[in-house]
């Protein structure tokens, strides 16, 4: 399979697709006991870059990922995704940004039981356009082939192995040709062998597509293989050396 086929759109090298400025997130800001999870996060991620975010549980990694994924909004500061400040968008605007620019991979695959693997993979396109075009379907099939799911595409998620389900979730995150993919411990639910396979796949796809990958992980071994590692500690994000 030609690798050129996987490049969804030309991405200028070193373009910052993710950028935050003094990002602060406080929960219960109007209560007696507000909790500030993010205390001024500044970061950038370039197109095609694979960034690992590590840190202890409860350090704010998932909160950061949720804000970068336009699922949540910062209390103060700014988060730019492909040049758009998410704090300036309303509910529908955030939804559109998620549908067109961002891909999510969760710890659990979250494929919908009612649909086949191919239908699940095409769901973001279906949401955005009402129904996938022939090109969308061909692209999805090509991506499924790339992750080794050609023979499984018409099966429901329940008939796939854990690794296959997560690979399906990876394709679903890519089918809308996003500029950034946010992965929240994508290998956390897999055995070590499947986890390693999935990580290698993510790494390869990031290189092939030029999509920026931000991956939260507890696994230092996987983080070491990233282009860059950031550590979340006490609400601050710093460069880490492993």
């Amino acid at each position: 399979m030609s690798k050129e086929l996987l490049i969804p759109f030309p991405v200028p090298p070193k373009a910052a697709v993710v950028r935050t400025e003094n990002l602060v997130k406080t929960y219960g800001a109007n209560t007696a006991n507000p909790v500030t999870v993010l205390k001024g996060v500044n970061m950038e991620a370039q197109a095609g870059e694979f960034v690992a975010i590590i840190g202890q549980s409860g350090s704010g990694k998932s909160t950061l990922l949720n804000i970068l994924g336009a699922l949540d909004v910062p209390t103060t500061g700014a988060a730019y995704i492909a040049g758009t400040n998410i704090a300036a968008l309303d509910g529908d605007g955030l939804a559109r940004l998620r549908g067109t620019t961002i891909g999510f991979i969760f710890q659990f695959h979250h494929l919908l039981d009612e649909f086949t693997c191919l239908e699940n993979v095409l769901m973001p396109v279906t949401i955005a356009k009402g129904a996938p075009t022939r090109d969308d379907t061909e692209y999805a099939k090509m991506l499924l082939g790339r992750v080794g799911l050609t023979d499984q595409m018409h099966k429901p998620p329940g008939q796939l192995s854990g690794g296959q389900q997560q690979r399906g979730a990876i394709v679903r995150a890519l089918v809308n040709r996003p500029k950034v993919v946010l992965a929240d411990e994508p290998t956390g639910n897999l055995d070590s062998r499947s986890g390693a396979d999935v990580f290698v796949l993510l790494r390869e796809i990031a290189k092939e597509t030029g999509v920026a990958f931000l991956m939260v992980t507890h696994d230092d071994r996987l983080a070491k293989a990233a282009d860059r590692v950031l550590r979340m500690e006490d609400g601050y994000l710093t460069e880490a050396r492993l």
Partner: protein, 422 residues
């Protein structure tokens, strides 16, 4: 919209047990509504048909003449029920010695035909008479009219259980089955009928026996030709009343008022003379509407609770869909479409079941009762009306969608982060 419809349809087809239960709840509600409405409508139609089918909708009479005032011994308060109420008794003394008649009835009939809503007119000679059978005497109300003409107004033929009505000869009468039973009169017997005075009398052959289902009709009414009644009652060429039938029975009061205002005659309409029965019908309508509303509410609550549970069950899925770009509006539409499909399917199913059930019930015969000549033949007098079916179907679908508003809004407002976290 295609995404929303596809997802709603997939939700329904993937959880068939739950879908079947919710569709069943709507269907049962529709069956309950249609059953109660069709049976009550049928009973009402039967009552109205019994009343209006044997009685004229409007009776046109001559205006009574007054000769003298009663002595002013009664006070105004004694004759009024209360301020603004109708006067129940009158100070005017009627002239019992003078019979009111309508002369030149053909001209009056022609005038009455010009009133919109009047369907049929029958000039009749009506008054008190006596049937003599040996030493027995039976006081009856004698009504004489052209058999074919009277048939169009009070449908006499359908009440005849023996003998004939159409083609009645001038020396023939028809009587009710109770009178025949009490007087021991058989079809073909001759009886003596005395009219307004003993010298206005004659021997008449009983050519028919009828059954109206009412005491007054079956025991106390005798019908004959107009000419026979005119001579027995001493009316000459005049008639005592004109019987009218109208296109819309419940508009009889308005038509009667217009006639009374335009012509020098008094009118009575069946809505007034049968007000007790009509009040009963109104009571039935109230009960019918209440039962329908409760059935609709019960099925709506069932749907709402199932949809609320469904939203909770699908919370994670909703979060994932939102993370993929689904808007609040799209999620709202998914659950609204789901409810609409449940409502429509349940309504159509309920309608089909109702039609089959009611069609079967309509064939159950009436068990034998005390009367040897029952007027009705089926146990359930059911009216199957297309508008009632359409209305129940629409109401149930709308109620189901209304029941989905709260769960659908709840789904739309779900925070995706919290939903995914579970």
């Amino acid at each position: 919209m295609r995404f929303e419809a596809m997802l709603a349809l997939r939700h329904l087809t993937s959880n068939r047990g739950q879908t079947a239960l919710t569709v069943g709840a709507v269907a049962v509600g529709v069956v309950a509504i249609l059953f109660i409405r069709s049976v009550i409508s049928g009973v009402q139609a039967e009552i109205v048909d019994d009343l209006i089918g044997s009685l004229p909708a409007i009776v046109v009479k001559p205006v009574e003449k007054f000769t003298a005032r009663l002595a002013d011994t009664d006070s105004r308060a004694a004759v009024d029920v209360g301020a603004g109420s109708d006067i129940l008794v009158t100070r005017e003394q009627k002239r019992p010695q003078q019979r009111e008649e309508i002369a030149g009835f053909a001209g009056v009939e022609a005038q009455l035909r010009t009133f919109p809503g009047v369907r049929a007119i029958a000039p009749v000679a009506q008054g008190g008479a006596t049937i003599r059978r040996g030493v027995k005497r039976f006081n009856v109300s004698l009504t004489g009219g052209d058999p074919a003409g009277l048939d169009t107004v009070i449908g006499m033929s359908k009440n005849v259980i023996a003998g004939k009505w159409i083609g009645l000869a001038p020396d023939e009468i028809i009587i009710g089955w109770r009178l025949a039973d009490d007087a021991g009169i058989r079809l073909g017997d001759r009886v003596r009928v005395e009219g307004a005075t003993p010298n206005l009398a004659g021997s008449y052959r009983v050519a028919g026996i009828f059954r109206t289902g009412t005491e007054g009709g079956d025991l106390g009414a005798v019908y004959t030709t107009r000419r026979t009644a005119q001579s027995l009652l001493g009316l000459g060429a005049n008639v005592s009343h004109l019987f009218l039938q109208v296109e819309e029975p419940f508009a009889a009061d308005k038509i009667a008022t217009r006639i009374a205002a335009a012509l020098p005659y008094k009118t009575e309409n069946w809505l007034v003379t049968n007000s007790t029965a009509l009040e009963g019908i109104q009571g039935m309508n109230g009960s019918r509407d209440m039962i329908s509303a409760f059935a609709l509410m019960a099925s709506s609550f069932a749907i709402a609770s199932v949809l609320i549970v469904s939203v909770v069950q699908k919370g994670k899925q909703i979060g994932i869909l939102k993370s993929m770009g689904a808007t609040d509006g799209q999620i709202l539409r998914v659950f609204t479409i789901e409810a609409g499909l449940i409502g429509l399917t349940g309504s159509l199913l309920g309608t089909a079941i109702s039609f089959a059930l009611l069609s079967w019930l309509m064939t159950i015969p009436l068990p034998p009762g005390p009367t040897p000549f029952p007027k009705h033949t089926v146990l359930f007098p059911i009216t199957i009306d297309g508008w009632t079916f359409t209305g129940a179907c629409s109401a149930a679908t709308f109620a189901t969608m209304l029941a989905a508003v709260l769960p659908a809004r709840r789904a739309a407002k779900l925070n995706p982060v919290e939903a995914i976290r579970g």
